[in-house]
Symmetry: C2
Subunit: 183 residues, 2 copies
DNA sequence: CTCTGATGAGACGTTGACGTCTCATTCGGG
DNA sequence: CCCGAATGAGACGTCAACGTCTCATCAGAG
């Protein structure tokens, strides 16, 4: 039975989320395996990061599926989406910043799919009249990623309680800081 | 006449904002000086990053001063603050993610000052009844940084127009994605 | 002009992480 | 019990970036 590749990826994600410059040696030790075995599974650091990218995309698409974005009001769909994203928030934060490093190269096609589905949700909310139309879906998508990353870091450094993660993000994203006059 | 240290810092900031892993050699060439001269001014990469941190803190504090956070409504103060932050957004993005790398070490005391002033603004808005009280000032502060970083990246990759930077951030931060029923 | 100090170009050694390799050990199936 | 495949430990060479150093050049002050 081969070593649990899934487990290696999980622990690598957990470690690289906290310290994105961690060594292959540290990654291996975090997974409880030797560096040699780590290299037997992933040809190199690039391969590992790419595998993590695939994992992140899978998690995001699973979250998108689980959130059933087409059902109910757009705002409830956003709430469900953020809830589903929470588990992958650290991984998203890692990959989101990691992607800034690739200047020219085109990014993994999977992200385009994820982006498109998230943006479609915001567009649906705009067309139904729930969301304001002066904030573009592309920006709302970007902001969602950014807030997830900020939230994950804030939680990991104790500036925000873990149990508030979802609430803080959803409420800020949907309602903003201003008090509502009406509802 | 010594080389314009300010200019070196500016170009280093511009480069590292786009690619945070840029080489000392690239930093030097971007500034139009030789690697030797770069090392004569900054003992090493650490020193350079720390100098950039100081620069970022200065820019933030200058922005905080210019925004006159105590005057007028809190929401207008936030608008002014984001406007003043725009020029430093790339640098903020770089330093914000860079800070995630220092796990245990305490961060530069300057950030604590900046954080405190930003958080105080949000707290003022809460006490005046403008802002909702279920989002903590610490989280709003964090979210502001995160949105600035997301905005800077989105602009640099063409997903958001540069002229919309300020508007997108302020409107999302203050008002959120939902349409207002009342005003 | 001359002297001084700063600069650019580049060589040099060091370091840390990487990727490969070997070999002993271990674990599980037959 | 025995065998083979997978693992762990670690040695080894490679490489890129770093930091230091030297030296020729250049510009400006006196």
């Amino acid at each position: 039975m081969p070593i649990d590749r899934e487990h290696v990826l999980r622990s690598a994600a957990a470690l690289l989320t906290r310290r994105s410059t961690a060594t292959m040696d540290e990654v291996a030790r975090a997974a409880g395996i030797s560096r040699a075995t780590l290299h037997r599974q992933f040809a190199g650091r690039d391969a590992l990061v790419r595998a993590l990218e695939e994992l992140g995309i899978q998690e995001c698409e699973a979250a998108l599926d689980a959130a059933r974005l087409d059902e109910g009001t757009a705002r409830d769909a956003v709430r469900r989406l953020v809830r589903e994203f929470e588990g992958a928030a650290g991984l998203i934060a890692f990959l989101y910043t990691e992607n800034q490093l690739f200047e020219g190269e085109e990014q993994n096609a999977g992200w385009a799919r994820v982006d498109a589905r998230v943006a479609a949700l915001f567009r649906r909310g705009q067309e139904s009249g729930e969301f304001r139309i002066d904030l573009t879906p592309a920006w709302l998508t970007e902001a969602l990623y950014g807030l997830c990353a900020s939230g994950a870091w804030a939680v990991s450094e104790g500036r925000v309680a873990a149990k508030d993660f979802q609430y803080m993000i959803v409420e800020l994203l949907l309602g903003g800081a201003l008090r509502r006059e009406g509802s």
